[in-house]
């Protein structure tokens, strides 16, 4: 557990409504450690940008308090918060050169000319754009503009940098390259970054922790591997990675596990994570790669019949859609190796999985 003074940013019961009718952010709580790379991941309209804007000071919180370095900042105007920001469209000032853009935050802080020039140079070198100081933003490519925006947000040594989908406008290759560059900058400068994206692979590769956002609430805040391996609710299980969902009613629960009766009558043993109680509905979540075809008898505690509906050849594995427990969208991944069964469409097979890999979560319908 981090000690209290390692917490740099803290949202405490923050709520936000733009129109007085709908809560865009409901009861947002978040502790962000110094030096952390925290990503907010969520579908469009889930309130990610709104949270950033509240932290940056451009939107007032309707309720609750935000702390920066232990100080409440609800009444601190944006320019006194010392928070760097990278906007989705970069927001480079078109009437200034790249160098002037970078020196702007230093000028308004009243820094001397020689010191300014040195810092601007260092920041541009950091993003490998040392020769571009005299260009105008209009003369940069998307990737270059993006780097300038990152350099500008860091040049005045802010404690926290907010990035709102900074790579959204770039193509896939460039985006991956920039992901690594931002990651390296984060590691080298030990700056605290709050990052927003709705691209989950971006979130998983870059972050120390990811806050999955939906419906104005943080659904789960955890390191990437934990988020994938141990989702605590059905939304997160579904949102992160491939996921199979089976719906059913809980028959019994004992300690670690529970027995669930699927809607077609078959019984499944699952790990008990987030269930309401015996007799209630539940969602079972199971990663496709944890399902085995034709398992050895006794190898798994769950064994069911399935029918292969569709096979998609993907090189290293074959993605197979099956009918299981009355659901016809059950996906399994069969590794493409001699050891594994060769299926064809319409085959009836046995499948099995461990109750450890099958998580019983809150009901969705």
């Amino acid at each position: 557990m981090p000690s209290a003074n390692d917490i740099l940013v803290r949202f405490e019961n923050v709520q936000k409504s733009y129109d007085g009718e709908i809560l865009v952010v409901k009861d947002f709580n978040l502790d962000m450690e110094r030096g952390e790379f925290l990503t907010m991941l969520g579908p469009s309209g889930s309130g990610k940008t709104t949270c950033l804007m509240m932290l940056a000071g451009f939107e007032p919180a309707t309720h609750g308090e935000i702390f920066l370095d232990g100080q409440p900042i609800n009444r601190v105007p944006p320019h006194k918060r010392g928070i760097g920001m990278v906007f989705q469209n970069y927001a480079l000032f078109p009437h200034m050169t790249v160098g002037e853009n970078l020196s702007f935050p230093l000028e308004v802080r009243g820094m001397g000319k020689s010191e300014r020039e040195e810092k601007v140079k260092r920041a541009l070198d950091m993003v490998q754009l040392g020769d571009f100081a005299n260009r105008r933003p209009g003369q940069l490519s998307g990737g270059q503009a993006q780097r300038v925006a990152v350099a500008r947000s860091l040049v005045f040594d802010p404690e926290v940098v907010l990035m709102d989908e900074p790579l959204g406008a770039l193509d896939k290759n460039l985006r991956e390259q920039m992901q690594y560059e931002i990651k390296h900058i984060h590691e080298n400068l030990e700056v605290t970054i709050m990052y927003v994206t709705h691209d989950q692979s971006e979130a998983l590769t870059m972050s120390n922790r990811v806050a999955v956002f939906d419906d104005g609430v943080v659904q789960q805040l955890a390191p990437p591997d934990e988020l994938y391996e141990q989702p605590t609710n059905a939304f997160v299980a579904d949102f992160i990675g491939d996921n199979n969902r089976l719906l059913g009613t809980i028959l019994s629960a004992d300690g670690e596990t529970c027995r669930v009766k699927a809607d077609d009558g078959s019984e499944i043993i699952a790990k008990q994570i987030n269930i309401a109680g015996v007799g209630e509905r539940a969602t079972l979540s199971l990663r496709p790669e944890r399902v085995a075809v034709n398992p050895e008898p006794g190898q798994f505690d769950n064994n069911l019949q399935a029918k292969a509906l569709e096979l998609i050849y993907l090189g290293d594995h074959i993605r197979t859609r099956m009918e299981v427990c009355g659901h016809d969208d059950f996906i399994i991944k069969i590794p493409n190796s001699a050891l594994h069964a060769q299926l064809s469409e319409g085959d009836n097979v046995n499948i099995g999985w461990s109750s450890n890999d099958c998580r019983a979560l809150d009901p969705t319908d």
Binding site: R81, G84, M85, N89, A91, F93, F104, P105, V108
Partner: protein
């Protein structure tokens, strides 16, 4: 500036299309066809502009220097006068007078002599009546019954003919083209001993030009000051509210210019709404009613109001393109809201101010109806005098010269603007 991409064209063989025609030839053929289509499309508008805009401007330029009438009506006199040396201070010799009598008699019978008189009257008053009187007498004159010299004959008609200046004037204005309208337009006169400024009390046009420039600048400044915040509101408010505001801005466009101007008369006149209001509130006494119309105040107020949309619209369209994230970015980097405005928002609106400013200024220096209605004597502009010379005094040459000067002012401004701001940066929408 972006570095020019160097084009590499290394192949030595000329490229050919599939059927063997050189690529250049077939490309040119395709381009020519497109050019002809484009030409055909712009022809109607081009002809229209040529006939109704460029033509009249050219005609105006010509009129401001045109001086054919004297050579046409008095051809012999003009050629005889050409050898007369005016600097001696003596009257021309008998040959000139003879030529003049012959020319003027024909002109009197053709009724063209009064036109010469009118033309010379612009240079010196009294000329019109002199020529009319002389023409009347020459009509009755029979050259066969002449007993005295031509000189004595003409001198006997009017003692103005005995004045050296009269002949000097005819000689001066005997060219096909004249600059005298321009001298008049800048309040100068050409005397026997060179160009001089007119006496103080007769200098009107320069004073008017100065007033026109000053009032137009003031009006432009006022439209910027009043229009900038409105345009900012329009560009930043929610679409529904800003549409409503935009209708209010455009409303004046849908009302007749005359109605708007007369509305200002109703508001600002001595017994008008504003004065009544101030008297009722006790700010001024009934005898101290303010004179706000038929003077410069009236011109400035009414024209600022009328020209305001021409400032707001270009400003609005420029501000609309400025993303609000610029200001936010500046704020996040530590700029106060004022600094963010001054260093980031405002510089991006300069193009709009320039476009609106040049538009309003050009419209203002040529504005005519409003100052005529609400300007009184102190608030009339140069354009009102141009109109006066066109429709009342019928001195079209002077009107054309004044118009040309206004046109030059606009061109100079345009060039200055291009030098300082760059015309490419002008954004109208």
């Amino acid at each position: 500036m972006a570095k020019k991409m160097s084009q590499s064209n290394t192949s030595s063989e000329p490229l050919k299309t599939a059927d063997g025609v050189s690529l250049k030839v077939s490309l040119n053929r395709a381009l020519r066809r497109r050019k002809i289509t484009a030409l055909l499309l712009v022809t109607p508008l081009f002809l229209f502009i040529l006939l109704t805009f460029l033509g009249p401007i050219f005609d105006m330029l010509l009129r401001s220097v045109d001086n054919k009438i004297i050579v046409q009506v008095l051809p012999k006199t003009v050629s005889q006068l050409a050898v007369w040396d005016a600097s001696t201070g003596e009257l021309p010799d008998e040959a000139v007078f003879k030529a003049f009598v012959e020319d003027a008699k024909i002109a009197a019978e053709n009724k063209t002599i009064s036109r010469v008189g009118k033309r010379l009257n612009y240079e010196k008053s009294g000329m019109s009546s002199l020529f009319r009187k002389t023409g009347r007498k020459l009509k009755k004159f029979d050259p066969d019954k002449l007993e005295i010299s031509y000189t004595d004959l003409v001198l006997g008609y009017d003692k103005k003919w005995a004045k050296h200046e009269t002949w000097w004037l005819i000689q001066r204005e005997s060219g096909k083209y004249t600059s005298s309208y321009y001298y008049a337009a800048v309040d100068a006169q050409i005397g026997v001993d060179g160009v001089q400024r007119k006496p103080d009390d007769q200098r009107i046009y320069m004073k008017l030009l100065k007033r026109t420039m000053w009032l137009s600048s003031l009006i432009t400044l006022l439209t910027i000051v009043l229009g900038y915040p409105i345009a900012y509101l329009l560009a930043t408010l929610k679409t529904r509210t800003s549409n409503l505001l935009m209708i209010l801005v455009l409303l004046p466009f849908w009302t007749s210019l005359l109605v708007r101007t007369s509305a200002w008369i109703a508001l600002l006149q001595r017994e008008g709404v504003v004065n009544d209001f101030l008297v009722t509130l006790g700010f001024i006494g009934d005898d101290g009613r303010l004179a706000m119309i038929h003077n410069q105040v009236g011109t400035v107020v009414a024209m600022t109001h009328i020209l305001l949309p021409f400032m707001i619209l270009p400003l609005f369209s420029v501000m609309k393109t400025i993303s609000p994230t610029y200001v936010r970015a500046a704020r996040s980097m530590g700029a106060t809201s004022f600094t963010a405005f001054r260093r980031v928002y405002f510089p991006n609106t300069v193009a709009g101010i320039g476009a609106g400013g040049i538009l309003v200024f050009i419209l203002a220096i040529g504005y005519y109806i409003t100052p005529a209605l609400v300007g009184g004597t102190s608030g009339t502009l140069l354009s009102n005098f141009i109109a006066y010379h066109i429709s009342t005094s019928l001195n079209w040459g002077l009107a054309a010269a004044l118009g040309t000067i206004l046109l030059m002012v606009v061109l100079v401004l345009y060039i200055l603007y291009d030098k300082i701001v760059g015309i490419d940066n002008m954004k109208l929408g």
